[in-house]
Each structure stands twice: as C-alpha cells, then as structure tokens.
Symmetry: C2
Subunit: 370 residues, 2 copies
C-alpha cells in the first residue's frame, strides 16, 4: 500500500505496532509492518541490547522506538519515592492483606524504583541517545510534546519524531514543537488516552495539521478498522492492544487469559496505575483505587506509577502462582478492542490478516460506489 | 450507492437523519437520504399533523419515525410527577435563584407533564398507531428492545423495525426481539449512549448479528466518517448531531451558538437530563447536577426527564431573552462531532457534502491499494 508516509519510512504496509516486546517488534517488521519498541521498561544498557537483538533479525527493515518523555529533560535526579504519602503505602498494604497477596522478594520494588527514575527526568535522555545509535526509522514521544533536545538530536540523525495526541489543540502544539508525524489517539485506546473517540478525533487532526502525516490509534485491531482509519484521512495506523495476546507477547499469562475472555465493556480509564487517565482492564485494583471508601485516591505521575509498578510486580508474581486474590487484582493497559481478541496468534499472522481484511474492506467500499 | 438495506428501503444514499424537526426530515429525504422524525415531543394528534406535512413534501420518498419506547407497553398511566422528591424540586429552585432565571409562564411545566406521560407507558402506543397510518419506510425504537406489540404491528404493515444498541449483547437481544435493522451507536454519539466507541462497536455488532443490516451511529458528521463506518461493515449511517446546526433545525438559538463554538471536549455523558447517561453539551446544568456538593444527584428515567424538561423549557425561554445565567445553564443532546460543526448550512447541503466527501474518501482508499 502506498501512502506518502509509508514511502518515506520505507514500509510496505503502514501498520505501526507498539510493543514492549522485541519479538513482536521484529515479527511485525519482518511481516511488512513497522514495529515500535516501547523503551520505558529498560535501562539504557538493556535498551541497547534489545535493539541489537532486533537489528540482527530484521535485515535492515525499518522499525522505531517509543520513549515516554516527560515535558522537560532537565534537573537533578531526585528520590521521588520519598514523596509517596504513608496513607498510599498503607492502602497498598491493605490491598495485599485483603486479597491475600503473599510478600514478594523485594526485587520488584527495587526494579520499580529504577523504573521511576527513567520517567522523571534525565532517564529519558540516555534512552534517546542509545536509540539513535541504532538504525531506527522513527522515534516517538508517548506523552506531551517532544522536548527540544529530543527533536534536535533526532534531526541530527535524520530520524523523524512522532508524537501521540488526544486533542486537536495538542496536535497543533506538537507540530509547533517539531513533531514530524502525529499519532491521533482516540479514547478507546489502551494506555494514556483523552476523551475524544478515534472516529471524531482523526479527521479534525488531519484538517488541523496540514501536510504533517497522521497515524490513527485507538480501536484498531483488524483490517476493517484500519480501512476506516485510512478513510478518515490517516496515512497509517498505530496499534498496541492487538499484540498483547499474540504468541510472542510477554503479557503475563494470567492477564492474557483475562484479555482473551474480556468484552469491550471490561476496560476503564483510570488514574490508578500511572497517575494520569490510562485505559486498562477493569480489575479489583482499579475498582479499589477508584471507588473504595478507604481509597486515598491515586497520586499524580510519576508517584502513582511508582506505587503501582512495585505493587503490580508483586501481584503479577502471585497471580502466576495461582493466588486467586492476586488474579483479581492483576490487570494491564489495553484498549476497548480487547473484546475482539479471543485467540492467541503469531504476530505475523495478525499482520497478514489485517492486510487481507483491509483489501477486502476497500474492495467492498469500491463496489458500493459503483 | 448500493447497499442491500438501501435497496430494500428504496433510498439513494443510506444516510439516515434523526431529527425532531420535520423540515430536516423532509429536506434530507428530498436530497436522497432518509429522514427519521423523532416522535417523542409530540402527542399522537401532533405527530399525525407532522407526518402529513412531511407526506405532502417528499413525493413518496421513504422516511421513518423514531419512538422512544419503554421496555413494556402496558399498565395504567400514573401521575409520575408525584414521585419527584422535594429535594430535587428544591435543587431546581436553587439553580433558578443562583443563575437568576426568571419565572416562566407555567406552560412549560404543564407541557413537560404531558411529555412525561408519553414515555412512561401507553403513550408510545398511540404514536406507533399514528406512525403506521402514514407511508413510512422504517420505525425505530431508541431505547431498549422493541416491545412485541410494536414489532407485531409493524410486521402487519410490512414496516421494518430498527433498534439502537450500544453493546454486542444488546444487539443480539434486539435481533431476538424482532429488530430488522440494528443501529450500533458508539459512546461519542449524542443522547443516550453506552461506553464503547463506534470504531470498536460496529465491527463486533456486524459479526454478531449475521444477515441483519447494521447502521453505524456516533461520530459521523462528514463523508470521511461515513466511509469509515461503511469500511467497518455498516450498510449505512445514522446521524443526529450534524442536523442540529442546520438552517432548518429548531435548535434554540442560544444553544445553536454554543454548539457552533464548542470543541469535541465540550460534551459530557450525564444523567442530569433524562436519568440515563446521555451525551450533551457541558453546561452549568450538567456541572451542578453532577458535581455540586448540594446536588441530590439525578433521579432515574423518566423522573429526571420530568424534572429536567420543565426546567429546561423555562431556562430556554430565559436564554432567548438573553439572561446570562440561563445561557450558562442551557444545553442540549449532542455528540462529540459538535467540534466539527462551525457553520450553519441547509440540511440539503450537508447531504450533498457527505455524498461528495464519501466518494472522495473511497477513491483515496482505492488509490492507496493500487
């Protein structure tokens, strides 16, 4: 398929696959799509290793990296954990008791501390530097406008910068900040989302940003939805949820089972995992934080992220041991398309199915117009 | 354009226009679309007059009627107003004082009482009987499965029954109850909506209902969005919001001005007008009912409808006199596409623009696939 953006990036089929799993990124890229590795979980050294692994497997095909960049890259690294109020720590301890989640090794808490360091300030810079040493074709900023430093470094390397937006106003701001590609993400998407649906948002963003190419995100897990997104004016689609139930995905088995069983009503936009509204599976975790009378309410970002990541690591480990309370609490970011995900397939097959369904949808539309 | 449903209903372009305004219904029908008159505001005698007016103008072209039918058509008519608690009446009086809304004539309260009678029980039956005396091509049930009596009467007259749904489960239930056409309505739609977006809902409903034709609703106000809906598998689209700012629409001028100025962030799903979650313009009315500490919280349907309709009639009259507090309170049901509505056009021109944009979008998709 030929869109201007697909040509520019050298991708056969403008299906962008956001995933934290290198296997998904490589599989999609090798199948003709464009894998984008979510780098947030990694240290710079780990990211370097992941990208080298991908480089060895994709034979020069283009892929990208997504970094969760805070608004500004500056300031000293502070021990943010010290800012977590006792009543938030107490509430987590209460949840562990109420749901009978056994104590963890402590390792997951340390790893959460490291994790938080990466999203607060200088953490992102190291990841960007590492990413630009690899033959990537795109670098994305998942939250807020890309900082000037990121845009400048990417420009030096000739790498286009993509930015996710949930409103027309944000799209204009991102373009002004130097974004080369806008990902217009509807409220139905997994992870951090706004309130406006993909159907409503995409055409408005396309009209607002002029020549800047737009990818559509949110609500896209089959080729009909991809065709719909392109009808709205997008030059490609950005999908995350659909990969979570693939063979390659590292989604925790208990959560994968929940996703395969879930309907599109089983997600919620909740601040309980990151401090900002993020769509995820409804679970005892979201219900307790958002509705329990004793809940102190989620903190902001990144504090709530720190609270949640350590707890979720412990919950995840307990869920894998089959502890029923932990299974009730376990969840993960996913969009409303979770209702369409009812089988485990190789990522490659998802790409091929979308290519074929896309062609069918376009042919059906063409015949309607005869 | 040829879809099976368009052929069956004898409509040129399967754009269904839901409107409470007969002028919009006639204009859309005459432009090649399919107007559907929302009958809820009328008594049976009034509806009869409205439909006769339309009959005289559309030269035999097909149009439809939408009745807000309660789940069951039975039981004696009761004075539902007697069930409104004093603190809800007091809260409305408090809002009138706080926003300086002058007293009305009392006529609007009586008309609200009549109105409520129509959505409670036997009211809908009279409207259905009247509608079936006219040469309508479709009868729709906006809420809940069509009652067996409605299906039976429509069948006797050979008129297909359409039903609005917001989940796959409801779609299955509506088909089982005898619906001939399913309108799958996403959360971005105006009025009563569920939580699932159009992009996610439509393909799932199409897959679930087999041969039953599906119309897409929610987020559709231009031809790109219509093409997207058809790519998802819909046989046509059902639009309501886009007509509210047309020349013909009877939308109150103060509310029309708000709509023309609004962005897609300026709507909210609130129970404050009908007792069920319905998307509408954010205004002081929705904010007070949903968030003020002194709010008693909305009642259920139809009680909240009775509370709100009388108050809104008084607010509307005051807003037309230019009272600023009343303008703050005034609102109306509208979807997120309100952000796209920035000019007043004749309904006919909206239809022609959608036809042309639809063709452009399909041609653009076709070229991508070359």
């Amino acid at each position: 398929m030929r869109t201007e953006l697909a040509d520019r990036l050298g991708v056969e089929f403008p299906l962008f696959a956001f995933s934290h799993c290198r296997d998904v990124v490589a599989a999609v890229t090798n199948a003709g799509g464009f894998g984008v590795l979510g780098a947030i979980a990694y240290s710079p050294a780990e990211l370097d290793a992941e990208l080298s692994w991908i480089d060895e497997r994709v034979g020069g095909r283009p892929y990208g990296v997504d970094v969760l960049v805070p608004g500004k890259i500056e300031g000293p690294r502070v021990d943010v954990a010290a800012f977590i109020p006792d009543r938030h720590r107490d509430f987590v301890a209460h949840l562990f008791r109420k749901y009978g989640v056994a104590a963890g090794s402590g390792r997951e808490i340390r790893s959460a501390d490291e994790f938080a360091g990466r999203v607060t300030a200088a953490g992102a810079t190291g990841l960007i530097d590492v990413a630009l040493k690899h033959p990537i074709g795109l670098i994305a900023s998942a939250l807020g406008p890309p900082p000037p430093e990121m845009v400048a470094r990417a420009r030096e390397h000739g790498i286009p910068v993509a930015a996710l937006v949930g409103t027309v106003e944000h799209a204009r701001r991102q373009v002004a900040a130097g974004a080369d590609v806008i990902v217009a993400q509807g409220t139905e998407a997994g992870g951090h989302t706004g309130e406006i649906s993909t159907m409503v948002l995409v055409p408005q963003v396309v009209d607002a940003v002029g020549e800047v190419p737009v990818l559509a995100a949110g609500g896209i897990a089959d080729g009909r939805q991809m065709a719909a997104a392109m009808a709205l004016g997008a030059q490609g689609v950005w999908c995350g949820s659909v990969w979570l139930t693939t063979e390659e995905a590292e989604t925790a088995p208990a959560v994968k089972r929940k996703m395969l069983a879930a309907s599109s009503l089983d997600t919620v936009r909740s601040r309980s995992r990151t401090g900002k509204p993020a769509r995820q599976l409804k679970s005892a975790w979201t219900e307790e934080w958002d509705a329990a009378p004793e809940s102190p309410g989620p903190l902001g970002m990144p504090l709530q992220m720190l609270v949640a990541e350590g707890a979720m690591a412990r919950i995840g480990a307990a869920a894998e041991r089959g502890e029923p309370g932990a299974v009730e609490l376990a969840n993960y970011f996913v969009g409303q398309v979770v209702g369409q995900l009812d089988q485990v397939r190789p990522a490659r097959e998802v790409v091929y199915a979308m290519v074929s369904e896309f062609a069918d949808a376009v042919e059906r539309l063409r015949r309607l117009s005869e």
